[in-house]
C-alpha cells in the first residue's frame, strides 16, 4: 500500500491542477497536456527531460541513503554548488588546455568538494551533537554566496566586462553530448549507472543494511557494533559526493561556465524526488524523470499559455504535500471525538 501512495498523490496533484487552472481561467485539459505530454512528443523535449532529471536523480539517490538512516541532509543545494565550484575551478585552472584526463579530474574534484561541504554538518553532529538539518541547510546560503564571491573575483572572466561570470569552459572541459543538437549529455548515463549501483548497495550490501538498522533502531545498531558516527559520516559522504557530482555536471553540461545563478533549486527538489521514489533507487529514477517533466512542462506552459512562472513550484509542492498526506493516511487512522484515557 505504501508503494501505491506516489501514484495516488500524483493523481491528486493532477486533480488540484485542474482546479487551479480553471480558477486561473485557463483550459485545464490543454494546460495539463502542455505540461505532461507535449515535452514527450519531441526529441528536443526528451533531451531536455534528461538534462533536468540528471541532477535530481543523482542528488536524490544520495539523500535517500541518508534519509533511510534518519540522517537529514537538507543542504544538498550547497554541496551541489560547491561541487560545481571545485570541479569548475579545475577546468578554469587548466584553461585553455586539457585532455581526456580533464573531465575525470573535474568530476573527482566536484565530488570531493561536495563531500567536504557535507563534512561540516557531519563533523558538527558527531562532535557536538548539532542538529544536522539546521547546519546543512544554513550552509546552502554560505555556498551560494561563496560562488557569487568567487565569480566576481578570482574566477571572473577577464573579458566579461565586469559581469559576474567565469570564462566559458574549453571544449575538453565540457561533457560529451548524447544527441546532436540538444543539451543531453553523458551525465544522464552516469546517473543511471549510479542508480543501479545504489540499488545493489541498498538491497545486497552491508552498508545499505547498516543505514536501515540505524534508521529503525539506533540502539540495535550499537548492539551490532555500528557506531553512530560511522553511519553519519557514511551518509553525508555519499549524499554530499553525489550532490557535488551533480554540480559539476550542471556546470560542465548545460551551463558550460560558472555563474551565480547556477544553483537553481535542484538540491531542494531532490528531497521531493527522494520521498516520491520511496527512498528506493529505482523509484527515484522514475520520480526524477517525473519531476523533471513538471519543470520542463511548466516552462513550456509559461511560454505558450501565459501561465505564471510559479506553476512548476506549485506543482512540485502539491506533489510533496499529497504524498506526505496520503502516507499519513495509509499508516494512521483518523478518529474523531474519542480520546483514550491513559491509566
Amino acid at each position: 500500500m505504501l508503494f501505491a501512495t506516489p501514484f495516488i498523490a500524483f493523481a491528486l496533484t493532477l486533480l488540484a491542477g485542474v482546479v487551479l487552472f480553471w480558477l486561473l481561467g485557463k483550459n485545464p485539459a490543454k494546460a495539463l497536456m502542455t505540461i505532461f505530454v507535449t515535452p514527450l512528443t519531441s526529441i528536443r523535449g526528451l533531451a531536455e527531460l534528461t538534462v533536468k532529471a540528471t541532477p535530481l536523480i543523482l542528488i536524490a539517490t544520495g539523500l535517500a541513503i541518508g534519509f533511510r538512516a534518519g540522517i537529514w541532509n537538507i543542504g544538498a543545494e550547497g554541496q551541489f554548488t560547491i561541487g560545481a565550484l571545485t570541479g569548475g575551478s579545475v577546468a578554469l585552472w587548466a584553461y585553455p588546455g586539457g585532455g581526456v584526463w580533464l573531465l575525470p579530474l573535474m568530476m573527482s574534484a566536484g565530488a570531493l568538494g561536495g563531500i567536504a561541504w557535507a563534512a561540516i554538518p557531519a563533523f558538527l553532529r558527531t562532535r557536538f551533537n548539532t542538529n544536522e538539518i539546521l547546519t546543512s541547510l544554513m550552509l546552502v546560503y554560505v555556498a551560494i554566496l561563496l560562488l557569487g564571491l568567487l565569480v566576481q573575483g578570482p574566477l571572473r572572466d577577464p573579458q566579461s566586462f565586469n559581469f559576474p561570470e567565469s570564462r566559458l569552459f574549453q571544449p575538453a572541459a565540457l561533457l560529451p553530448g548524447l544527441i546532436a543538437g540538444t543539451r543531453a549529455h553523458i551525465g544522464f548515463l552516469i546517473a543511471i549507472v549510479v542508480t543501479v549501483l545504489a540499488h545493489i548497495l541498498v538491497t545486497r550490501h552491508m552498508l545499505g543494511f547498516v543505514t536501515r538498522v540505524y534508521g529503525d533502531a539506533p540502539h540495535a545498531a550499537a548492539f551490532a557494533g555500528i557506531p553512530e558516527r560511522h553511519v553519519v559520516w557514511l551518509c553525508f559522504a555519499i549524499s554530499g559526493g553525489l550532490a557535488g557530482l551533480a554540480g559539476v555536471f550542471e556546470a560542465a553540461g548545460p551551463v558550460g561556465q560558472l555563474v551565480p545563478q547556477l544553483p537553481s533549486g535542484y538540491g531542494f527538489s531532490a528531497i521531493i524526488v527522494a520521498f516520491l521514489g520511496r527512498l528506493q533507487p529505482l523509484g527515484i529514477l522514475a520520480a526524477g524523470l517525473l519531476l523533471g517533466l513538471t519543470s520542463i512542462g511548466g516552462e513550456t506552459a509559461q511560454i505558450t499559455m501565459g501561465l505564471p512562472s510559479a506553476t512548476t513550484s506549485v506543482f512540485q509542492g502539491l506533489l510533496l504535500f499529497f504524498l506526505l498526506a496520503t502516507d499519513v493516511l495509509v499508516t494512521h487512522r483518523i478518529r474523531i471525538g474519542r480520546s483514550m484515557e491513559t491509566a
Binding site: M206, F209, R212, H219, A222, F223, A224, P227, E341
Partner: protein
C-alpha cells in the same frame, strides 16, 4: 472468606482478537477480603481478563457483577469510581518529579487537590508502606517506585485491588514486605486479585487460585495444598522437563573483568564501581540484582557498546578486549543477548532474516550480503527454538514478546560462542520455552563456553548457575558457589551495597526497614 455475596463475579467473559481467542468463556469469583491468585503462562489471557475488569478492554461476551450489581466499565475512570484499582507491572512515573507530584498526575483532578502529601503520608503510615512524598522518583529504587503505584491506588479507596506481577521487580525481602501490606488490606475486607506465575509466592499468599491456559480456566484450587510443580504443570499443561546440569570440570578462564568502573550513560543511570569477576569455560556465572542497579551499564560494557579506558579491564581468553567494539568481540567468540529485545537485540521493522545479520559472524561484514545463507540461518533458529511465526520474512515486530526472545536467544546460541553473556534470557517466555533456553545455555557451558547470566529471577539463577554474584548500586559482590547460598542471603545483598562507603546510601533504604 465472607459468607455474603462475593465482591466480584465474572461469568462467561470472552474476548477475541483477530486470529486468537484471548479470553474464552472465563468465570471466576473473588470473595470479600479474599486474596485470589490468577495463575497462568504468558499469553494465557490473564492480562486481557484484568483489563476487561478495569475497563481498558471491552468484552465480546459474558458479564461481570461487582458487589452484586451488574458492572460493565467503559473506561478505567468508571472502574476506579466504583472502587476497582489496578497496579501495573510497568510503572508510569516521571523520574524528574517528586513522589507527590507523580501521584497527583495519576489522580482525577478533584482528588489531587488539597493536602495530597499529607494524605500520602497517612496512607503509607497506615499500611506500613514507607515512602517520602517529597523525594524525587529518579532517586528511588524499583521497590520504592512500586510503592508509589500502590499508594496511588489506595488513595482512591478501592474495594478490589488487582496487581499484575508485582514482585517481578522486588527483592525477596521487599516481596515479603509487600505481602504483609496485602494481608493487612485483605483483613480490612478489601479483595485482591493477584496475578503471577511464581508458584512459591502464590502458595504463601493466596487461599484460592484460578489457573488459566490458552484463554480458558483450567482449574480452581487451593494453592496451599498443591506443590509448586503441580501448579506449574497445570499452567503449561504438560510435565516439566527439568534442565540437566552436568558437573563438568571447569576449564581455563575465558572472560575476566578487573576493576570495571563506568559513569552512568544516562541521567538516573547507575555508575559501575570496581567490578571484578572471572568466568571459566564450562561455568555459568549468575549475576542477581534488582533492576536498575547497574545491570544495563554492565551489559553495555561487556558488549563493547561503551568502551573502557584501560584495555585490560576486560580480558577475553587471556588477551585484552576493553577497546574492542561489539563486532570485534563477536569475532573473538562472544555472543550477547541484551535485556531489551525490540530495538536493541532486534530491529523491529526488519524481517527475521534481516535480523540474523545484526550479530552474525558468518555473514561477511565487508561486502555483499548472502541472503540465502541468512535465510537458512533464520529457518534453523525458528526450527531449533520453536519460534512461532508466520514466516521468516515477517518483521521482528510481528512476533510476540516470548517468541522474539526465543528467536534472539536462539540466534546467539547458534553462533556457538565461547563466551555467552545474556541479560534476562527467559524474561516473558513460558515455562516450557524457558526450560528449553536453560537447557541450551547449559549445553553451551558443557561444551566449554563461559556463560554469564544477568537476571532478576533468582529461581532461574539457582537452576542454571555454577556461582552467583549480586549487583547492587553498581557494585558486584564476590561470586559464591550455588550450594553455599540461600535465597534470603542473596536477597539481603540485593537490598543494598555491601561496601557501605557511599554517603547517601540510597539503595540501602530498600533494605533498611526489612
Amino acid at each position: 472468606m465472607s459468607v455474603s455475596t462475593p465482591l466480584l463475579v465474572i461469568s462467561g467473559l470472552s474476548k477475541s482478537y483477530p486470529g486468537v481467542k484471548a479470553v474464552d468463556a472465563v468465570s471466576l469469583t473473588v470473595g470479600r477480603g479474599e486474596i485470589h491468585a490468577l495463575l497462568g503462562e504468558n499469553g494465557a489471557g490473564k492480562s486481557t481478563l484484568v483489563k476487561m475488569v478495569y475497563g481498558l478492554v471491552t468484552p465480546d461476551a459474558g458479564s461481570i457483577s461487582f458487589d452484586g450489581v451488574p458492572y460493565a466499565p467503559r473506561k478505567p475512570l468508571e472502574a476506579r469510581a466504583l472502587g476497582v484499582g489496578l497496579v501495573f507491572q510497568h510503572f508510569s512515573l516521571f523520574e524528574a518529579l517528586t513522589v507527590a507530584e507523580n501521584v497527583a498526575l495519576g489522580l482525577p483532578a478533584a482528588a489531587a487537590r488539597g493536602d495530597l502529601a499529607g494524605r500520602i503520608a497517612q496512607v503509607s503510615r497506615g499500611y506500613g508502606i514507607e515512602i517520602d512524598p517529597a523525594r524525587r522518583v529518579g532517586a528511588l529504587s524499583v521497590g520504592e517506585r512500586q510503592r508509589i503505584e500502590i499508594v496511588r491506588c489506595l488513595l482512591q479507596n478501592p474495594r478490589l485491588i488487582m496487581m499484575d506481577e508485582p514482585t517481578s521487580v522486588l527483592t525477596p525481602q521487599e516481596a515479603a514486605k509487600l505481602f504483609e501490606t496485602l494481608r493487612a488490606l485483605a483483613a480490612e475486607g478489601r479483595s485482591i486479585l493477584y496475578i503471577s506465575h511464581k508458584m512459591d509466592e502464590i502458595r504463601a499468599l493466596c487461599e484460592r487460585a484460578t489457573v488459566m491456559r490458552g484463554g480458558r480456566v483450567i482449574a480452581t484450587c487451593d494453592p496451599r495444598t498443591e506443590s509448586a510443580r503441580s501448579l506449574a504443570e497445570m499452567m503449561i499443561g504438560t510435565t516439566l522437563a527439568e534442565p540437566k546440569r552436568s558437573a563438568g570440570a571447569a576449564g581455563p578462564v575465558r572472560l575476566s573483568v578487573r576493576n570495571l568502573s563506568l559513569p552512568p550513560a544516562a541521567p538516573f543511570g547507575t555508575a559501575l564501581a570496581e567490578i571484578s569477576f572471572d568466568v571459566r569455560g564450562g561455568e555459568v556465572l549468575g549475576i542477581a540484582g534488582v533492576a536498575g542497579n547497574g545491570q544495563t551499564e554492565l551489559m553495555e560494557a561487556l558488549l563493547g557498546e561503551r568502551l573502557v579506558a584501560e584495555p585490560a579491564t576486560i580480558v577475553l581468553d587471556g588477551a585484552p578486549a576493553g577497546h574492542d567494539g561489539p563486532r570485534e568481540r563477536r569475532t573473538r567468540g562472544c555472543a550477547f543477548v541484551p535485556e531489551e529485545r525490540l530495538g536493541h537485540g532486534a530491529v523491529p521493522g526488519l524481517s527475521l532474516v534481516e535480523n540474523v545479520l545484526l550479530s552474525s559472524r558468518t555473514v561477511s561484514w565487508s561486502g555483499m550480503i548472502d541472503w540465502g545463507a541468512a535465510r537458512a540461518r533464520a529457518d534453523l533458529i525458528v526450527a531449533d527454538f520453536d519460534v512461532r511465526t508466520a514466516g521468516v520474512e515477517g518483521s521482528a515486530r510481528s512476533l510476540s514478546g516470548g517468541n522474539l526472545q526465543k528467536y534472539v536467544v536462539g540466534r546467539e546460541v547458534l553462533t556457538e560462542p565461547k563466551v555467552f553473556i545474556a541479560s534476562q534470557p527467559t524474561w516473558g517466555v513460558d515455562a516450557g520455552a524457558s526450560a528449553a533456553i536453560h537447557q541450551a545455555i547449559l549445553t553451551l557451558a558443557e561444551r566449554g563456553a563461559a556463560v554469564v547470566i544477568i537476571s532478576q529471577d533468582l529461581d532461574e539463577l539457582f537452576q542454571i548457575s555454577t556461582r552467583i554474584a549480586v549487583i547492587a548500586g553498581g557494585r558486584l559482590t564476590e561470586a559464591k558457589p550455588v550450594g553455599a547460598l540461600t535465597v534470603e542471603g542473596l536477597g539481603r545483598a540485593m537490598g543494598g551495597p555491601l561496601i557501605d562507603t557511599e554517603p547517601d546510601g540510597q539503595h540501602a533504604t530498600g533494605a533498611a526497614h526489612v
